[in-house]
Amino acid sequence: MYWRYAVRRILYAVVMYAIVIFIFSALFNAVAETTQIAQITEQVNAEVRGVQQASQMQPEDIQQWREDRRAQLIQQYHLDEPIVSRIFWRTLNTLTFNLGQSTQIRSSAGENDVWLVIKERIPRTLILFMTAVIIDVLIGVWLGLRKARKAGGLMDRTTSIVTMVVYGLPSWWLGMLMIMIFAFTFPIFPSGSMHSTPAPTGGFANFVDLLYHMALPVIALVLLRFWGRAYITRNIVLGTLQEDFIMSARARGITERRVLYGHTLRSSAPPIVTMSLLALLASFGGALIFEGIFSWPGMGNLYWVAVQQNDVPVLMGNLALTTGLYIAGLALLDLIYGLLDPRVKVGGKA
């Protein structure tokens, strides 16, 4: 039963991704093409120089060769076809990770294939983000449970106020502040990037260095977000506590501890997970800016760089991949929900 649900959900995600990429391709077609044509011109010029050196062609022949070559490339990239067809080809290329060449940016190995440029950054973003997410959820749910147990009490009310106070605080601004304080005024932490230069060799030393660099960004990310998690958890748990089956469990003599952590938490898990992951996915955007502040060489930082250098292919490619990760995240969320809620996992009535 669940497998059917899982497969359907994944297929749905893929279809959604394709549709969204199509929309992007249409939206940004004009500017992407401008860049492509410029790149073609450059390429042709470079090749012409090579041809000129290798053979001794006459100027008119070279001109002819240039035009032929240009026409050939344009045809290769489908730029001579009607607009719908062009958009279609762009969509197809993006979906197959055929993202073109960058204009300025290079990967750490010096390549300018956009896909490679982005690919090496994906795990870096994921490390930072997932660590922050896990810590955020753990602290948030724990705090939320404690708030629900003593709902209306002083701790509950104060933490709720704090939640509201930090509601509109941009996490990247907090990052700036923390850099100012903990990297410059009191130089405890490094002010950015993923590793020290030079990076320490040896697995363990490298790992510790990574943690050292992750500390400040993760703290800044978590410090603001877990309040929201706690608030949502508290509300959901309080809602569950009012359900009949909780009273029924208590009437059956089940210990309060079991009722809270077993029946209540377990029943609240699906909505808590959903709400948490949704909120986290929403904060994904902010985390991208965040990377720029900390010079963390991930996908978010790539947006900064690409904007500054006006590297259109990289921007497009990054957007496609960011969206892909985002949609994958949404699908993952649904799959987890399905696992947690037996109404989905096992399906309908007997």
């Binding site: 509201m164 930090v166 941009p170 700036m176 500054q308």
Partner: protein, 465 residues
């Protein structure tokens, strides 16, 4: 039916009044509105809005000055930025020359010297002038120059920029010879030396010479139309303004005040439009059901699959929008927020018998939607609007921070972008980085208070339905 709706809204208001932090939120909101209303009165630099990026507007301010209230807390007071008018003006005629002498008195009783001392004047025609700055200990600086031109122009003589040689020469008899040997006019802090006690430490590790400094300007004008229109002394202090100044000499406090209206505008407009669209969308989908609902759901799901900020970034990079276009772009994505909840609420309400009754009585769809469904959704809509405002403001700030914002308007995000791009984080210019962020946070907090207060009232009711 109308009475039912208004009494429902009034009951809602009564409950809202009881939630303390909701009232705090409303008060803060009122404060922000007042700030926007009284903006011209609150900004020391009235034209900050239009001339934020115009360097000539800010020439008289110091660069990177701390806020004035820093002096309340520090042991060593910073010199306050000032603009001095002449304490005495005398005119005389010597043959065909007209002579004007203006004297300015500056009381320096701080522990830290200003960053610059400037004499600024507007001249028309031909003139030759002499500037003297006399220290409390009698030493003085002398500077002469002539200028001829037919038009009116501004002349700015700055100790830091133009008079370093003179200051160096002034200090030479007193300062430590070793220091003199290793320094030159370019490397010394001319102003600090000018305001330092004459002695061995005059060039390095200066101690302040407190007292009255007099600046005398003597102008000899030739020609009929030559005029000295005005002159002042500008003290570029270490502290200036309520929030200090930035690296481009702009008064940060004025910037913050100017940004308030944009924050309110962006936040309220975006959330109002997007929530309104979202609510109507959800109601229509839920109420009509069937294929309309399915189709609308598909469209909705496509929007849900798009991560907002990356799209905003790329769209801004490609289309380079103005602030208004940015608001429209944000609305294009924000509307999805309330749809799911509103749709299920509409589905629930639809099942109520009074809806059936209304239909049986012949009420049109439009009437049912507008008179029966929408009024019940108003409290929820307000709560959602309130909670969307901070997001909109932060999104605009994020786009501005990355450099893609509308540079013609002064928003808090723009101020932060200038700060970040100028390296304020690295240099520790905290008064440039912290206040705009606090402003954003305060406004976010205001709407969070209001929205959460509404939320706490709505939820028990939603459950009993």
């Amino acid at each position: 039916m109308k009475r039912k709706e208004t009494s429902q809204l009034r009951a809602f208001w009564n409950e809202f009044r009881r939630v303390r932090f909701g009232i705090v939120g409303l008060v803060l909101f009122a404060v922000f509105v007042l700030i926007v209303a009284f903006e011209p009165l609150l900004m020391p630099y009235r034209d900050a809005n239009e001339r934020w990026r115009d360097m000539t507007y800010w020439l008289d301010s110091p660069r990177n000055a701390l806020p004035v209230w820093v002096n309340w807390f520090s042991a060593k007071d910073y010199a306050v930025a000032e603009k001095l008018e002449a304490t005495s003006v005398t005119e005389s005629q010597v043959g065909t020359l007209r002579m004007m002498t203006m004297e300015f008195d500056y009381d320096f009783d701080y522990e830290r010297p200003p960053t610059d001392f400037q004499l600024v004047m507007t001249l028309t025609g031909n003139a030759s002038l002499q500037m003297e700055v006399i220290r409390p200990d009698g030493e003085s600086l002398n500077y002469q120059r002539s200028t001829s031109s037919s038009g009116t122009r501004e002349l700015r003589i700055s100790i830091a920029q133009n008079l370093q040689d003179k200051v160096f020469r002034l200090a030479s008899p007193f300062a430590d010879p070793d220091v003199i040997a290793s320094e030159n006019p370019e490397t010394i802090d001319a102003v600090a030396t000018m305001f330092a006690v004459a002695g061995p430490s005059m060039l390095r590790n200066t101690s302040p010479l407190q007292g009255t400094y007099t600046c005398r300007l003597t102008v000899a004008l030739t020609g009929e139309d030559s005029q000295l229109d005005s002159a002042h002394v500008i003290i570029a202090g270490g502290v200036a303004g309520w929030m200090g100044t930035d690296a481009s000499k702009r008064d940060i406090w004025s910037g913050l005040i100017a940004g308030t209206k944009w924050a309110l505008l962006i936040g309220l407009l975006t959330s109002f439009v997007s929530v309104a669209v979202g609510v109507v969308y959800g109601v229509v989908a839920g109420y009509f059901g069937g294929w309309i609902d399915s189709a609308m759901n598909r469209v909705f799901e496509i929007f849900l699959s798009m991560p907002l900020l990356p799209i905003l970034i790329v769209m801004s990079a490609v289309f380079k929008p103005s602030i208004w276009t940015m608001i429209i772009m944000m609305c294009l994505f924000f509307w999805v927020g309330p749809v799911k909840t509103v749709r299920s609420m509409a589905l629930q309400i639809k099942e109520n018998t009074y809806i059936e009754a209304a239909k049986a009585l012949g009420a049109s769809h439009r009437r049912i939607v507008f008179k029966h469904l929408l009024p019940q959704l108003v409290p929820y809509a307000f709560a959602t609007m309130a909670l969307s405002v901070p997001s909109a403001i932060v999104y605009e700030a994020s786009i501005s921070l990355i450099g893609l914002g509308d540079a013609t308007v002064v928003t808090w995000g723009q101020i932060l972008q200038d700060a970040y791009a100028s390296g304020a984080v690295l240099q520790g210019t905290w008064w440039w980085v912290v206040p705009p962020g606090i402003a954003i946070a305060l406004m976010g907090m205001t709407f969070a208070f209001i929205g959460f207060a509404m939320d706490t009232i709505l939820n028990p009711k939603l459950r009993t339905r």
